[in-house]
């Protein structure tokens, strides 16, 4: 299965991508994830202001037949959630890397070292 893995982003093994700009980390799901899920019909977002631990669940994406938890790549506070996905969850299918889900103000940037590079993530996907 061919899928996009932009080299400018970091990744989790659970198929979230993270874009790092200063201490703000923008998070979404990867092209591989959206393709595996199929038609995404529901995205459950966290409250802005809630705090997340690295690897804790922060939301849910649902396709017609499946429910998948979303895992935070980093510890911090949710500063923004993409409300557009509530009415148009299919955007995650159409443009997974533009359709960010949340933005987190990170409290411990050294956690970013534990995320996968694009090459490592591609390798990870090829082993699934």
């Amino acid at each position: 299965m061919s899928h996009q893995v932009p080299s400018t982003l970091k990744y989790t093994k659970d198929h979230e991508w993270a874009k790092i700009e200063g201490d703000i980390v923008t998070i979404g799901i990867t092209d591989f994830a959206q393709s595996a899920l199929g038609d995404i019909v529901f995205v459950e977002l966290p409250e802005v202001g809630s705090t997340l631990d690295q690897a804790s669940t922060f939301g849910v994406v649902e396709s017609i037949k499946s429910v998948s938890d979303l895992y935070s790549p980093i510890t911090g506070e949710v500063v923004e959630a993409n409300n557009e996905l509530e009415s148009s969850p299919e955007l995650c299918n159409q443009s997974p890397y533009d359709s960010w889900i949340i933005k987190v103000k990170a409290t411990n940037l050294s956690e970013l070292d534990s995320l996968l590079s694009s090459a490592d993530y591609e390798q990870h996907c090829s082993e699934l």
Binding site: S63, K65, V67
Partner: protein, 358 residues
């Protein structure tokens, strides 16, 4: 245990279907997208490989009488060449399986059962067949079965000369022939739409599949099949119907004919008070899933979701729910608990979607 393959397995793989184990078979879950497949069936035509289903053939003078004795619905009373849906029950009224029995001709009955229950059903039928003048053959591995469903099905099958212009009412069956291939054509299905189910040889199944796809029929997987049947609120064994409840607990009172002289489970079912009732609930936001709790206005847990999905056609989360009969609220106020949050649900007296079957 290795998975069984249907005769069309290679075709599914070549089409790029997402495959998954189901009832011991490696089955296509979806091809293009579940959504597109559901839309194809509701508006046009889709084909499902359901060759995993089991088939028993009952032949002999008593064939109809035997099947009528085994099932709760009225099989003897149905007209010739009719199909009858029925639960198959134990003496205590609990459900072994649900099935469709087809009156092929006098003394010839085809019984189609759920793939996951083939062995259990076969054993059960064989416990009783000795008392009747008929014999049973398990043809489950001999037949392929294609379900062709959707409003355009009749026209497409006429154009392919699989069916002729003769009257073919809903829930009826005909034995037929096409280029030397023996077919059993049934106007039945599991989507709520008009359509046919065609029992045929493995060899012909591939030819028929290719013919259908070449005229634009959409290949559809089990995921779309499940969405379609939940939208029209058809029960599924293992979900709405289970080994430990009766048909009366699963909204199937209409299939239990207590006025029949004799059938297995009659006495138990005639004395039984249903413990559960099925209710149909929809959510404006969120998607109910199997196992989620159902609550009343006072936040008491009164039941659970037995099947839930996003309805492609109704564009909302829909659920068939099993509620304790004595706790079913008269005010029809229900909530469904999703990940610790309770959502008000809309009660549906009828199915979420009205299929177009004739």
């Amino acid at each position: 245990m290795s998975l069984q393959l249907t005769s069309l397995h290679n075709k599914h793989v070549n089409l790029g279907a997402k495959m998954a184990p189901f009832a011991g078979f490696d089955m296509p879950l979806q091809y293009s997208s579940v959504k597109e497949e559901v839309i194809a069936v509701r508006s046009n035509c889709g084909v499902f490989d359901v060759s995993h289903m089991g088939e028993f053939l009952c032949v002999g003078e008593d064939a109809e009488k035997f099947v009528d004795f085994m099932v709760t619905n009225d099989f003897l009373g149905a007209g010739s060449n009719k199909a009858v849906y029925s639960p198959l029950c134990r003496e205590n009224g609990t459900v072994i399986d649900d099935l469709i029995a087809y009156k092929l001709s006098h003394g010839r009955v085809l019984i189609c059962v759920n793939a996951s229950n083939i062995e259990k059903d076969w054993d059960w039928f064989n416990e009783f067949v000795g008392d009747f003048d008929c014999t049973l053959t398990n043809l489950s591995s001999e037949y392929s079965l294609l379900a062709i469903q959707g409003p355009k099905t009749e026209q497409i099958l006429k154009d392919l000369e699989i069916i002729d212009s003769a009257e073919f009412p809903y829930y009826s069956v005909k034995e037929s022939e096409f280029n030397g291939n023996e077919l059993i054509l049934a106007r039945t299905g599991y989507t709520g739409e008009d359509g046919f189910e065609i029992f045929c040889s493995h060899k012909f199944a591939g030819e028929l599949w290719d013919k259908l796809l070449s005229v634009g029929v959409a290949p559809c997987g089990l995921a779309a099949r499940d969405v379609l049947r939940v939208e029209v609120c058809y029960p599924l064994y293992g979900h709405e119907i289970t080994d430990d409840i009766t048909p009366l607990d699963a909204g199937l009172k209409w299939t239990v004919k207590l006025n029949k002289p004799e059938f297995i489970g009659k006495q138990a079912l005639s004395e039984y008070q249903a413990k559960y009732t099925l209710v149909k609930l929809a959510l404006e936001k969120g998607i109910p899933r199997e196992g989620y709790e159902v609550l009343n206005a006072a936040d008491e847990i009164i039941g659970k979701v037995t099947s839930g999905t996003m309805s492609v056609t109704a564009n909302k989360g829909v659920a068939i729910c099993q509620v304790e009969a004595n706790k079913n609220p008269k005010d029809k106020n229900y909530k469904i608990r999703i990940r610790k949050n309770d959502f008000e649900a809309t009660y549906y007296a009828k199915a979420f979607v009205t299929g177009g079957h004739k």
